[in-house]
Amino acid sequence: MATVQDIEIRDSAARTAAAVEELQDIPGEKMVLNMGPSHPATHGVLRIVLELDGEVITKADPDVGYLHRGDEKIAENMTYTQFIPYTDRLDYLAPLANNVAYALAVEKLLGIHDKLPPRCQYIRVMCAELARISAHLLGLGAFAMDTGAVTVFLLTFTEREKIYNLAEAASGARLTTSYTRIGGLMRDIPPTWCDQIRQFLKEFAVALAEAETLLTRNRIWVDRLRDLAVVSKEMAIDYGLSGPNLRGSGVDFDLRKAQPYLCYKDLEFDIPIGAVGDCYDRYLVRMEEMRQSMRILEQCLNKIPGGADNKTKEPVNVADGKITMPSKQKVMSSMEELIHQFMLVTEGVNCPPGEIYFGHENPKGELGFYINSKGGGTPYRLKIRAPSFINLSILGELIPGAMISDVPVILGSLDFVMGESDR
């Protein structure tokens, strides 16, 4: 005779609670695991010492400094202009944005930051926004690849290649651009540059939409990112997060809006913010920021003074022989310009004594320069506020409680670069 037996099916939360209770009875010891410094998911040379209880992380101690080159020490020993190539190597995924940030900081010390020619301002904004797209594309590609979606990486790298071509057309170099100078730019953009950007924007819009279809509503992607490593608004502010990581937590703060520099106040764009502060929000914020950057670029293309080919000969440098280099022809033919050129090369731009801090909205967050000057052509002290360094300091709080397989996702969503973090 068959008997009927009731089977109790509990919901998943109750099952997990029971499993945890069961686990507590099993004695075990914690294991320490070294992740990095040479690990594909750490995007460089970050080392994290993880303490594990089974597969759950109970403690995480990030160890940075493997890429320390002493940039701040080096800066004290050379002129302001000579340090520009070093800024390329801070956030090496967005060298153009670093160049702009550094030049603006020195210009603030000189007191000429609001006297920049409009054409220079527009070109710098275009450089910064191209750099933002480029950095976010790499961040997104690597993030998706670490999570298992390799296709996105190929898509984004194809687009990044075009931005490298644009950087090469403007500055002559693909990675180490050094495009800005104190008080202006190395040179004007080539006449075809604006058309190249238009072409790029057309193709990029398609690629971005494609990447978005692959990820944004992808079940696996959403499941792995949502509700993971939630950073509350208060925590984000307390830890000094900046950039997309701060805005992903719902803090409406962007230096381009809060303290508009260059020509950002003449441009229309929106600041995306997240609602929850999890990995998925940070991903969405970056996606939207790329679209806003496209919007800014389109406006710049239409509004740039002098147009693409600069028929009206708009200047790109501040008209001050004591700050920007005179043209070669004038150096060869006029005494005064020869003296200026000589002084600029041998002594550097003569900055007044004083101290300033300038923060620039870089792709990774707020890249700040504190410059302490005692006068003359070299800084007495130059401190770099590296956004990646500060964004990483939250790891010790963010990782514990997550599983090992969540770590690459968390790291990818914070989107840091060690060249900048370690300086």
Partner: protein, 192 residues
């Protein structure tokens, strides 16, 4: 509330400990005379004046002067969009000031970095280790008396044992507003 008003409020609260606010390039700076009070001042600025965001902490080595160290706090209020710079001096004999980790948690890594680079200690910091350099490195390399070329050390393989490739130039200049010969050691002395 503007930065100047905030600075005056801090001055009203702490009196003579706080200097008159100075302005340079639109930035307001105040200086705290007694570094031991830094925690109280920061705490007041955060709780009462809304400076909820610590942008950065920098340090300067005023080599040859007394007090030798200056520590600089860049405060920001996100709600009011106001920035204020707070400075304080620390003498070389003491080389220690209270940690502001209890006010902003972001101060943790900033203070570790200053300890690592300059050798200024922060009392009350729970985990004051080197951060960019490795544990056991014998020098503080951002001090002005540490040469750009590095220093020989008794710990072979741990710190520099060879002069750095940049030693002697071509880019090396000595910071001062003096003439080119003084600043660039490698420049040729003109014949008298």
């Amino acid at each position: 509330m503007s930065a100047l008003e905030s600075a005056n409020k801090i001055k009203a609260k702490f009196g003579d400990l706080i200097s008159e606010p100075t302005e340079f390039r639109g930035e307001i700076t105040i200086k705290l005379a007694d570094a031991e009070q830094i925690f109280e001042v920061c705490n007041f600025a955060k709780r009462q004046l809304g400076f909820d965001y610590l942008v950065d902490i920098s340090s300067v080595d005023n080599y040859g002067e007394d007090p030798r160290w200056t520590v600089i706090y860049e405060l920001r209020s996100l709600a009011n969009n106001v920035e204020l710079r707070l400075k304080t001096d620390v003498s070389e004999e003491k080389s220690e000031l209270p940690s502001v980790l209890g006010v902003w948690r972001t101060a943790n890594w900033h203070e570790r970095e200053i300890y690592d680079m300059m050798g200024i200690r922060f009392s009350g910091h729970p985990d004051l280790r080197r951060i960019l350099m490795w544990e056991g490195y014998p020098y503080f390399q951002l001090r002005k008396d540490f040469p750009l070329a590095g220093k020989p050390t008794d710990l072979p393989g741990v710190a520099f044992t060879q002069p750095a490739p940049l030693e002697g130039g071509p880019f090396v200049t000595i910071p001062s507003s003096g003439d080119a010969i003084g600043r660039e050691p490698r420049v040729r002395t003109p014949e008298e």
